[in-house]
Structures are given as structure tokens and as C-alpha cells.
């Protein structure tokens, strides 16, 4: 009896002592009627990767197309979640064989137990009826059976395999955004690249996982360095024509090239770069004799020169966070090195201290530069062209690729977790992707020669 009261007293004391600060805080900060939510947590109290199980979705209805749609949906969803870089996916062979189709059908204990040992489960139902594909998906917290629902979504598109993949991409993005802490997933982003598989170098586009590759421009000449605008409306690239190398614009909304007057007159114009808000374009032009960095508005007005130093200045890239800095490659000291400057041309800082550094790409959070570097360039010196990531504030870098071909043209994904780049092995150029720490390197293109990838902003 006394023990029971003792326990009750300790509980009561616990609740009182822990809620007093909460009550005090809520009283101090808000004159609100309700008390404020607060949590107490600390370091090393959670796993670094969430253990997520993606169950096969339950097929509903008797439509004969459903199994094939379901197969592509299941595999696309699993691959998107595995590629995100933040989940520890439960492999399909360890997961229970059940296909729960609704919250009433799922047995969370089965998923939380060994060998699956999942913290989160994604499941749902897919049905194709009357030419419409409708999918309902849920994500449940397997370790919180009291109130497990984290996410519940419904999708409805016209029935096709492409749309089954599209719905899987959308659902995966929702899961990544909810569980990954506010950073949007990349499953619906696109990669623009140059391919010579039709005979001439044209701009192509594909899904971020290498699917659905198709051509964008059909100019018949050489088109290089595609850069998609932040709002996905226009594609800027450099192409050789009657006037020489010029910056061209292709409107994805209209499906045809549109005019860009600033990109044409005089000299050779290369490597366009959009600012993060889509209002400005930077590119390198030799119209004044020496290749320099020029900046203009997105419609071509307000053209002005930023650099004025002897030696080539090429390959600009904007700081997408602040839109007030540009990193570029300059040969003013001899071999190409990476520099940064403010958008008015002031405050020039040198980033690399030697070697042969080219193709900078600024990370979406504004902190890192990814570039291609050969640190031991020189006659007879060993060393390869590899992708490096450098922290701009401290100039500390890490090397991401090692001993595997010549790697160039890195481009960041919008979530800052992935990089796409070009790898040349024995003269064969293909597009590869990897996580921003150098792991999980995968080849995306297999046929033809493919160069200069660019990751879309959303």
C-alpha cells in the first residue's frame, strides 16, 4: 500500500516538476489560452538513418493492367527511397510478405519485429479502373502503435506506366520531405545533358534515375553546357551557328528556341549560368577580345562585364542561396584555378592553390563548391581529374572520386545530397550520379556519348 502511494507521489512530483517549466515558459512567452507544446531531447538519442520498409502495394480491382502498373510503381518507389540517402531501407527479402492495403489491415508488430526491424512502414493500395490509376498510400510509425500515422496521401492519374512511375515519384518525395526534415525530395527532378547519339551533339533530358531519356533540341550543330532555369521554363545553352558560338534559349513551355539578343554579337560565348531566382544570367564571352565573365538579365538586357583581367575567365556559377556571389574559373595565373567574387566584381578570392581546377558548381545551401580538379598537373606528373567538394568558408576539401576515369562537370541536386557528373573511361563518356560524400556511384546512361549534365532546380 505504502509503495503504491510512494509511486503515485513520485509520479505526481515528476509531472509537476516537468510541467512547471513548461507552464512557466508558456506563461512567460505567450498570453495564449492554451499551454505550449514542448519537448525535451538530446544528442545521440536517435539513429542517423531512418529504417524504412516500403511494402508492396496491394492491387485492388480486376483490371488486367494492374499487375504491370503495380510492378513499376513498387520498384520505382523502392528505388526513390533508397536513392534518397537518408533511409536505411529494409530489403524486400527481410520484409514480411504481407501487402496491407489500408490502415486497418496493417499489423505493425510484424514490421517492427525482426528480421524487418522497421521504424517506419510505407504501404497502401493501387487500383487501375476505367482508365484511371488511383493510389492511396500511408506511412506509419511502427514503433508508436498508439498513434502511428505520419502521412496519408491519395493520387489519381490517367492509367499508364509513366504515370505509375510519376505517382511513385510524388509519393516518395512526400515521404522524403516529411521524414527528412523539410528538404524536398528529388524524385521529380530532371537531368539535362548533351548527347551525341544522333550524330550531332544535342541537348537531352532524362529523369533523375536515368529513365525516360529523350531529346530536347534538334539544331543539327554542336550544342553544349545546358542550364535549365530555376522555374523550369527555359533552357540556356551555347551552340555554334553562323555567328559563331552564341548563348541560345530554348523555351520548354513553347517547345522551340526563343530569342536571346545578349548571347550573340561578337566573340565566342560559352557556359551560361542562371542565378537562383532566375532573374539573371552569367556567361563567359570573348567579345572584348579576352574571355571574360558577363552578366545580364534573363531577357538579355542590362548587359555588363564583371572581370577585366588578362587570361581566360570562364564557367561561372552563382551562389544560389544569396544570389550575390559568383564562382568561376580563371587562367590569370597560368593554369585554371577557381575564384569567387561578389556579383559586382569586387572581393575576388582564390579557392584552389594549384593544379588544374575547372567546372565549379555551388551547392544549394551556399556552403560548398563541387568542382573537377587535377591536383598534380604537370608534365610527367601522376594524378587524375577527380570531383572534389570544398567548404568555401574554411577552404577544406574532400575528394569524392578516386582512380576511376576522368571525372568532370559536377552538378548539385536541389536537396544538396547528390551530385551528377560526367565520367570518361577510355574515351567513352557517360553520366554518373553519387551521394555528396562520394558513396553510391551509379551510371545513368549506357549508350552513346553523354556529357555535361545539369540537375534541375525542382
Amino acid at each position: 500500500m505504502t509503495a503504491f502511494f510512494r509511486k503515485l507521489l513520485s509520479c505526481f512530483a515528476g509531472i509537476v516538476t516537468l510541467s512547471i517549466p513548461g507552464a512557466f515558459l508558456s506563461g512567460a512567452f505567450l498570453p495564449a489560452v492554451h499551454a505550449q507544446d514542448w519537448v525535451r531531447t538530446g544528442s545521440n538519442l536517435s539513429d542517423q538513418k531512418i529504417r524504412l520498409a516500403a511494402a508492396d502495394f496491394k492491387p485492388v480491382g480486376g483490371d488486367p493492367q494492374t499487375p504491370s502498373y503495380k510492378a513499376s510503381f513498387d520498384s520505382t518507389l523502392y528505388n526513390d527511397l533508397a536513392n534518397a540517402g537518408i533511409f536505411d531501407m529494409v530489403s524486400k527479402s527481410m520484409a514480411p510478405q504481407a501487402t496491407p492495403g489500408s490502415p486497418q489491415e496493417i499489423n505493425l508488430g510484424q514490421w517492427a519485429a525482426d528480421p524487418a526491424n522497421a521504424s517506419m512502414v510505407a504501404f497502401g493500395a493501387l487500383s487501375a479502373a476505367n482508365g484511371r490509376l488511383s493510389v492511396s498510400g500511408w506511412v506509419f510509425d511502427a514503433k508508436n502503435p498508439g498513434s502511428p500515422q505520419v502521412l496519408g496521401k491519395q493520387y489519381n492519374e490517367s492509367a499508364s506506366t509513366d504515370n505509375a512511375r510519376l505517382i511513385a515519384h510524388k509519393f516518395a518525395d512526400e515521404i522524403i520531405a516529411r521524414l527528412g526534415g523539410g528538404i524536398n525530395g528529388i524524385a521529380e527532378t530532371k537531368l539535362y545533358f548533351v548527347s551525341s547519339r544522333t550524330g550531332s551533339k544535342e541537348i537531352w533530358v532524362m529523369d533523375y534515375d536515368g529513365q525516360n531519356q529523350h531529346i530536347v533540341t534538334k539544331l543539327g550543330s554542336i550544342s553544349l553546357s545546358p542550364r535549365i532555369a530555376p522555374d523550369n521554363s527555359r533552357l540556356a545553352f551555347s551552340s555554334i551557328g553562323k555567328e559563331g558560338w552564341s548563348i541560345r534559349m530554348f523555351s520548354l513551355d513553347l517547345g522551340r528556341p526563343v530569342g536571346f539578343p545578349a548571347g550573340t554579337p561578337g566573340g565566342s560565348n560559352f557556359s551560361p549560368a542562371w542565378s537562383g531566382d532566375g532573374s539573371k544570367l552569367a556567361f563567359s564571352s570573348s567579345r572584348s577580345g579576352d574571355p571574360e565573365i558577363w552578366v545580364c538579365d534573363a531577357n538579355g538586357g542590362n548587359l555588363r562585364k564583371l572581370t577585366a583581367f588578362h587570361g581566360p575567365d570562364v564557367s561561372p556559377t552563382w551562389n544560389p542561396r544569396t544570389n550575390s556571389q559568383i564562382a568561376w574559373v580563371s587562367g590569370r595565373t597560368g593554369l585554371p584555378q577557381i575564384y569567387t567574387m561578389d556579383v559586382d566584381g569586387a572581393n575576388i578570392q582564390r579557392m584552389t592553390d594549384g593544379g588544374y581546377a575547372i567546372s565549379p558548381s555551388w551547392s544549394p545551401n551556399g556552403q560548398f563548391l563541387a568542382f573537377s580538379w587535377n591536383r598534380k598537373y604537370g608534365p610527367g606528373a601522376p594524378g587524375g581529374q577527380d570531383i572534389y567538394v570544398m567548404d568555401i568558408a574554411s577552404k577544406r576539401w574532400i575528394q569524392l572520386t578516386h582512380d576511376a576515369g576522368s571525372n568532370d562537370f559536377p552538378s548539385w541536386s536541389p536537396d544538396g545530397r547528390h551530385l551528377v557528373f560526367e565520367r570518361a573511361i577510355n574515351g567513352h563518356n557517360e553520366i554518373w550520379t553519387m551521394l555528396a560524400d562520394g558513396t553510391e556511384q551509379h551510371e545513368l546512361t549506357k549508350s552513346g556519348k553523354n556529357f555535361m549534365p545539369n540537375w534541375s532546380w525542382k
Binding site: 531531447t41 521504424s119 516529411r178 526534415g181 560548398f368 577544406r396
Partner: protein
Amino acid sequence: MSTTSQLPGQFEHGQYERVEREFERDPIGKPMLAAILFHIAVLGGGFVFALFAGLFHHNAWGGANEGSAIAVQLVSNALPLPADHAPNKNVLATETPSEAPAPPTPKAQPTVDEKAIPIASKMDTQKKPAEKKQEASKVKAPVAPPTPVKASPHTDPNLKQDNHAQFGEQASTQMQRSAVPANTTTVGSTTVNSSGSRGFNYPYYVSNINRKVQQNTNLREVDSRTPRGAQANILFTIRRDGSGSDFKMDRSSGSPTLDQACLRAAQRVDTFGPLPSPPGDGPLIVSYHCDYQGP
């Protein structure tokens, strides 16, 4: 003026001298020799210099010296990817405890006075509160470590070298998170107490806060003389859209560098993700503690 006739082969003395002078060669021999020798000297000197300079190699390409860019194993943890942390060996939630101290015994034991002589009528009444106590303690059981101490013959070699016990709280992967009502949610060893009407019952969001702040913690900022186990407590608010605000120290750890590192880690996070609680609940106050485990 008499014109002297010129017989062939016969010259006047002055003319002979003039012709002699015309036919005399310019003295180019010596200067020519000097010029040739000079050219040979210049070219030869240049060749010899190139030969000797080539013998002593120096790296003009910046390969030998480090320069201003420094290679590191890992850039600061600000790449938004999960870092590899070794599992945390500690006493409270592990099957291989360290030598001392022993883990706390679970409190889920009904205290029955065994020395009392059972009285028939009272036996029945005593059984009921005993059962009640069992149920009440079972509800509390998920909080206490469920696995009993396994006396393993082989002690972990790592533990043998340490002279002090492991401590701290452990991530609860294996443990069940049960949502106990009345404003308390227990996520393993993370107890979410709130004074809201419903409680902030989103353990996955709390794990997310942990992960984000930990990813952004730069342990280099902490002085290595800080004692292990030092804990800095900070307070901050997460707005509805997921951005953090009002960062302040709650209780100092005694090490100013650890305090600053903890505060800066939380400040560096761009967004925690939109709050999953209903909009009427307002922003979320977080009390976060950073444990220093060593350099």
C-alpha cells in the same frame, strides 16, 4: 696641262697606293672571330644553364606544398547526409554492460510482505491490489530497460581498457515506443512531456530534431579539455514552418566552448520541417542537451 699618257702596267705612285688601298681587305678577321666566339659563348651558356636547371627539379605546380587549401577526412557535418556514428556502448540499454556500475533494477516489483501470515479473507483482498500493482507497473515497464543483464564470459575488450563506466542515454532502435496518455509520450529513453492539451505526440519529428542538430554539430569547436559527460542544455523554439528561433542557453555545461558549439549547431539548421501538430497548437519549444563524449 700635260696629259700624261698611261702606258698599260705602269701606274703613278699615288694611283697605285689608292688601288692598293681599294684592293686591301677590310680587317674583319679578328672582329669576326670575336663575334663567332661571343655567339658560341651565349648559346653555350644558355644550354649549360638549361642543363643544370633541369637537373634540379622544383615543383612549380604547387604539388609538394600544401598551400592554403587543406585536405581533411570529412568536411564539417553540414552535408545533409547521415554521418557514420559508432554505436554508443552504455549501461542503460545494452546487453553487454560495463563492469561498474550495475544497471538500475527495474522498479516493477510488487512488494508483498512475505513474512506476514496469510489470513484467508485478507489473502483475497491482498491479491487484488497486487494485481493492480502488476498492471500499473507493466504500463511503466517500457520505460525501464526490458532486457535482463546477460553475464557473458567474454567481456568486450574495448570495455576492459576503459576504467570508467559508460553512461548516457541510448538511441531506442530496439525498444518499443508506446504512447502513454495523459500528456506523456515515451520514445524509448526520450520522454516527451508536454503541457499542451494533447501533447506533442510525434516521436518521428523529435528524432528528426535530434538528427538535424547532431548533423550540424561541429565537435572541433569544443575544447578537448572539456570533461567527458559534460552536458549543455539549450532552449529554442521551432515555428510552424520549421525554422528555429529564440536560441538561448538553459544550463551551462561548465565549458564555454561546448555551450557555444551546442547553440551554434541548433542555429545552423535551416529548417526542421513544418510542424506536424495541428495549427492551433502553435510553435514548439525544444529543450535540447548536448553530451560531450570526448574528442
